[in-house]
Symmetry: C2
Subunit: 307 residues, 2 copies
């Protein structure tokens, strides 16, 4: 990522954590960074865009770090090491955690909310699979409960860890907490019924996933509608249009990366230039669906560039 942007993101996070998102004006940001307002808007499309970038940057960094390989040894040893690493890195994420846990996550932007929600689910699922690996098959019926409790316990301790000033032994803490989790796991022995079941959780943690799938279908049918509309054209033109549509579909649905804006825009422009009213309205619908699809996938849109 643009190095300059990273610097800005880190400085912004500091301010956000100190004063809160809403209370930090762009003027503040710009002064702290020693540049002008115009320059700010050269790097970020809006204040919300900055917030999203900040959240993305830290969240991604932290989750990746959390999920890093724990090295050699048994699964449990690795798990302990993963936790310990996370605890000892906590100071790096202090600002981020403070923002996330103790105060506000602005409701300003549904995109932000959705993104954080998804991250939450991602972490939870990671706990589930990791705990299954550590404790083997016996834990599986209760894995959601164990993951829920593990998550809760760790969150709570994290909350404490950065309120305390002195250093602490992250390794000992991790071992200590895992021993508690051992006890929780062991307590399920007697064929007890779990509180959380997969079916009860699926709508919660996979709400996003499902929504994305549905949007994908909607998008596909928008493509179909454009193809349909192309039938009304003369054969030569129809052929051109269909090829362009195919390319567009490939760009948007065929790859696992964010579609390249210039390709999408170029193809749309080309298609719009085919003078055909029926095509035009189908294209409007299509571009709307494409936008929704990208938003749902949390693909970062490039900051707006003047030309």
């Amino acid at each position: 990522m643009d190095e300059r942007r990273v610097q800005f993101i880190e400085a912004a996070m500091k301010l956000f954590a100190e004063k809160g998102y809403h209370e930090t004006s762009i003027q503040d940001l710009v002064e702290a960074w020693g540049i002008s307002k115009g320059a700010f808007y050269h790097h970020f499309a809006s204040k919300e865009d900055l917030l999203l970038a900040v959240l993305r940057y830290y969240s991604e960094k932290m989750v990746a770090d959390f999920m890093a390989d724990g090295g050699e040894g048994t699964e449990k040893e690795r798990f302990v090491r993963q936790l310990a690493a996370h605890f000892s890195h906590i100071r790096e994420y202090k600002d981020f955690l403070r923002m996330m846990m103790s105060e506000q996550l602005p409701k300003v932007n549904p995109e932000v909310e959705r993104y954080m929600f998804r991250q939450h689910g991602r972490l939870f699922l990671w706990y589930c699979t990791r705990l299954a690996e550590v404790y083997g098959e016996e834990v599986c019926p209760y894995v959601y409960d164990v993951a829920m409790m593990t998550n809760g316990i760790i969150r709570q301790y994290l909350f404490y860890f950065f309120f305390r000033e002195e250093a602490f032994d992250a390794d000992a803490a991790a071992r200590f907490l895992v021993r508690r989790i051992d006890a929780i796991v062991a307590s399920f022995a007697a064929g007890e019924r779990p509180l959380l079941t997969e079916e009860a959780l699926v709508p919660w943690i996979e709400l996003e996933e499902r929504e994305r799938k549905r949007q994908r279908e909607r998008l596909a049918s928008a493509f179909a509608a454009v193809r349909e509309a192309a039938n009304g054209l003369d054969p030569k033109q129809a052929n051109d249009v269909l090829e362009a549509v195919a390319a567009l579909e490939e760009e948007v649905l065929g790859r696992n990366e964010p579609p390249r804006a210039y390709i999408v825009e170029a193809l749309l422009l080309y298609l719009r230039h085919q003078q055909a009213p029926r095509l035009a309205s189908a294209l409007d619908a299509l571009s709307q669906e494409m936008e929704a699809y990208q938003r749902l996938n949390g693909w970062e849109r490039e900051p707006w560039k003047k030309r």
Copy 2:
């Protein structure tokens, strides 16, 4: 409390939970409630005042409800019943919890922050004493750890409980969770060292308490300074002043309730009317300390009334 005010508070919480504090303008509030802006400012001194009132109202209600007597039976049975009651009332506090847990607690006002922090500590201490009662003396060395985990687990489950639509068996959930806590408690058998010790926690949970004590001392010395200054006056006047000061001290420090503003103001006015420069500056210092003291005690100031 003013019934009208309560209605307003509840309506406001709904809006805050839906749209977020910052995104809810006074215009929105006023429209939702069907009154005018002027009327709003008749009931609340400012938007922040409203927020504080809202937070206070719900927090107090919820904590009180949580800490309600659990009825008959062994301590553990009562504890389970307390938890179950809390779980089943959750829908009443949905808005509040959503605001507190999943998203924003606006950083707008240090008073708000301090208040919520204190509530947090209060709940934690409640867990500590309650767990000690339930599990007896053996748990005492680990009670802070157990409380921390209990708190974490319950928070996390609460978070889940109100994302789920269907009803659930609060009683079963409480019993289920307490069984896990049993296991955690049992796991400490082997004379293990706790992670959290009282001395490590005291600065955290009693930071407020200590600060309040210190402020009390500062206030007392401000009173002493005024008395000192009164010595320079002629005997008759000095006597009047000393009596007024004593009355003021009684009002502010002697009772366990918020001092009545009109008494404090009247006495200050009276004292200020004694033409004595040395007294005046001591009085300035005093009124400042009094304000700080009240703020620290979280005493709600009456909404400003026009006269």
